[in-house]
Structure formats: C-alpha cells, structure tokens
Amino acid sequence: MNEKIFNDFPQISDGYIYFDTAATSLKPKSVIEAVNNYNRNLSSNINRGMYDKSVITTRLYEEARVKLARFINASTDEVIFTRGTTSSLNLVAYSLGLSILKSDSEILISEQEHHSQFLPWQNIAKKTGAKLNFVKLDKTGRITIENIKKAINENTKIVALNYVSNVLGYINPIKEIIALAHQYQALVVIDAAQAVQHLLIDVKDLDVDFLAFSSHKMLGPTGAGALYGKSRLLAVLEPMEFGGDMNEDVEKDHSTWKASPQKFEAGTMPIAEVIGFGAAVDYLENLGLKEIMNYTENLYKQLFNEMKKLEDIEIYNPNSDTGILTFNLKNVPAHDAISYYAEKNIALRSGQHCAKLIHDFLGINSSLRASVYFYNRKEEVDRFIEVTKEAIKYFRKLGF
C-alpha cells in the first residue's frame, strides 16, 4: 500500500493500533471534508428550497446516490438511503415480510447472522406465524450450498443471509444460493455490511433481490446506509415510514406516495452523512477494491500465521476470507483479555459482536475479534503478536 494513504486518515497515530474495522472503519480526510463542507457552507435541506444552497445540496445528495448505484451496478431508483444496515433490513422485514409471509411460510436464515438481520426476521416470524428455518452450518461454521439445498423448500418465501460473517469473516456463496432460492420463488435479502468494503459487488450479476449495507463500515460517516432493491420489487413495496417529502397528493381521506426511492425517504434525511457516504465511494474506487482486498488478505495471512503458532490461543475461524480473526486466549475470558490490549493502545472488539447465535454454535460466551484493513501495517501485526504473547504471560502469572 502506498505510504501516502496513511496520511489520509487523521485517526492514525503513533502507538495506536486500530484492529476494529469490522465494528466501524476509520474515516479519510476527503469524507470528513465532504461532511464539513455541507455543515459549514451549505446547511440547507434537499428537494425543498428554490435557493442556490438548497439546489447545490440536493445535487450533492443525489450525486451520492449515483455513486452508490454505480458502485454496486444498480440504477438510482434502486438505491434507498437509510440510517444503516439495521434500518435497511428492518424496512424489508416489516414492509415485505408482513405483506408476504403467512403461517405456513418459512424464512431461511443462519446462526451466522448479525442481530440486525436475525432480530427483525425473528420478530416478523412471531407476528406472522412464519417459521424460522436455520440452515445447518458445517463444522467450521460455514454456510454451504449443499446444506442450503437440504433446508430450502416450497414454503421458503424469504432467504435472509449475510454475505460476509461479522464474526467468522467467511464469504458465503450467495450467488449460488440466490439462483437456488429463485427456483423456489423465494426472495433473497442479503446483509452486506461486512462485504462492501472488501468485495466488488454487482447486484445484477448476483441477481439479489435486496441488499443492505452501512456507510460507516466502508470509510463513510455513521448514521447513513443503503438498501438496494430490484426496481419491480420496490415499486410494490409499501413504505414503513410516512412523513415529509415522501408523498405526492395529500387529502383528508387519502394520500399517494412518490416513486422509489423517494417514497422510502420520509423526513429530513442524514444529508451530511449521505454526502460523506458518496465521498467514501470515491475514495474506495480511487484506491481500487481489488488492491484493497489483496493488501488486506496478505496482512490477514501474516496475522493468522503468527497467531496459530501461539499455543495458548484458540482461533475460531481458521482461514477466514476477509480481514477478520476471532479468537480467545485460552482460559482467559475475552473481557479480561481486552483490558490488556486496551492498556497497550490496541483497539479490538470483545464480547459477542451482536451475533449471539454463532457464539452458541461455537460453544463460547464471548470472543475477541481483530479485524485488519488496508490502513493497517505489517509492523502493527508484529506489535499485536508481541502484545498477545505478553498478555498470555501476564494472565498466566495472575493464575488464569
């Protein structure tokens, strides 16, 4: 990776190691500037004002949509801005789920899911009487097409899965799963929160029906995200939120809505954040996702190879496909271990990472997660390994 890119991230400082990109990515200057420019110089609403600043703001907001659409090979009417992956998935679960699921329907889901994908569908299943059908994971926790074939049936109306697991870092074979689901006339809803920052996503090639992701995991600001939906599906999907600017005609007894995406964007949207989201796409495209993936993969390999040499480490996702390494120090609860890393100025995640079911599958209460990205360096991995060795010694001495 070009040394210059490290200067793009003001959060990077000497001695601080950020290995928590899977929780949220760092933000480059260009994104911060885009957000600041809106707040400092524009600060006007979209689609409403006839004055210059409002017109410019509307243009910047819609340009972000064009960038996002191009980024995933969708058309602009197929990209809805939301608060993040969670909002996107709740929108699909409530609007689509409540309208098509019946008591004999099944939702095909997995224990890998983040709570943002699992809890909306669990809730909708309770409301509709539909059944949650969990695909069996293989021994390593992976979703296989063979097990999907065994689980899917003519009652499956929704297939709700992640593209990349936020705990295991595995890339799921969603293209094959989508093709199979369509043979059963099931619709596929993909949580791509951990995929967009690593993989080139082409929604047309995948033939995915709905795909959700967040700005803040791909260098953009928090508080913004997107939902992709196929045009013909969004045309009939009911909005979940009603309010300002999503309507066409409003009468006392009846009102009508605008077309997608406007009908799903009620009220004042997170304008600054959406504009920053667009700037994040620019940054990723300039650097190139392929280069990012190659660099991250090499860094991950270095991390994994060094970690697996350590005897007192339990790794739960050997050969992860992205930059995520999930582990524990043997006999040390994750919350104890994390305090050691925190004291050494290393940012990791500990706990269940909003994915309790996969921890049940692994038979553990909690874990530590290190996630690397293109702005991390080889020297940081070396330091991380050193600190891990020290941590093991420290806790053993205490009697763990």
């Binding site: 609860p333 919350h335 104890d336 305090s339 706990g351 909690s366 205490l398």
Partner: protein
C-alpha cells in the same frame, strides 16, 4: 508494573478461582434474579433468602470475566447475615464506588473494597456491578 494490577488484585483472583456460595436454590424461600450482559456474554444469577428482614442466605451462579465472577462471590459473603436495609445500603455504596461517583466512605464495604480500582477502567464497571444489581433485584422482589 502494569496499571492493570490495580484491577487484578490477589483477593479478586482468589475469588475468581474459588467462587463462594456457588449454586442456585430454586424453592419458594429464595428469590432469583438473572442478568445477562449481551455486550460481553456475562450471565449472572443471584438467589437470596430473606427472613424477618434479614438476608439469611445468598447464592450466585456466574459465567463471565474474572471481575464479574469474583464480584458475585465477594457480594454473597458480605450480604449473608445483613439486615435488608443494611444490605441495600452496602450494595448502593459499592455501585457508586465502582462507577466513580460520590459514595459514603463511612459504610464498611469489607472485602469488596478491593474493587475500588475498577473506577479506573470504565469499560469494566458493568462487570463489577452486575451481581450487585441482580442482588438488589432479588430484594425488590421480596
């Protein structure tokens, strides 16, 4: 010397390795309260028996980090034999101490004083507090 040494005191490690009053009793004389912390995976249940305004018995079952397990163990030892009012006062004082709020230093926290270092580690306040909050829940259900 690591500042973490202020957290991992010998008494805490001793309770972590040999937790006291372990095991729950499920009968009408005992009140149970269970708290799970989804952020870290801690899962703690406290079981209390109160008779004539006195805590006659207190049991705990704790799965989690050393601080939460040791804290549950220390708590049960302190609470057994206290009046309900005194027990509540101690619990509130302890919770204020670990969360770095003002607390009445004249109240004897006994062995639980060793958790005084927790306030330097804001991320661990919850770990130290869970069992005490669960204990208060058992009293309020009485």
């Amino acid at each position: 010397m690591s500042t973490l040494d202020n957290l991992y005191r010998e008494i805490i490690m001793e309770h972590y390795k040999n937790p006291r009053n372990k095991g729950l009793i499920k009968n009408e004389e005992y009140t149970n309260a269970r708290i799970k912390n989804p952020a870290c995976g801690d899962d703690i249940t406290v079981s209390t028996k109160v008779e004539n305004g006195m805590v006659i018995d207190c049991k705990q079952q704790a799965a989690g980090c050393s601080i939460s397990v040791a804290s549950a163990s220390v708590m049960t030892e302190i609470m057994i034999g206290k009046t309900k009012e005194n027990a509540l006062e101690i619990a509130n004082t302890f919770l204020n101490m670990v969360s770095n709020q003002e607390y009445d230093q004249s109240i004897d926290l006994e062995e639980a004083e060793v958790f005084g270092g927790v306030k330097q580690f804001p991320a661990r306040i919850k770990c130290a507090s869970i069992a005490w909050v669960a204990f208060k829940d058992t009293l309020s259900q009485e």
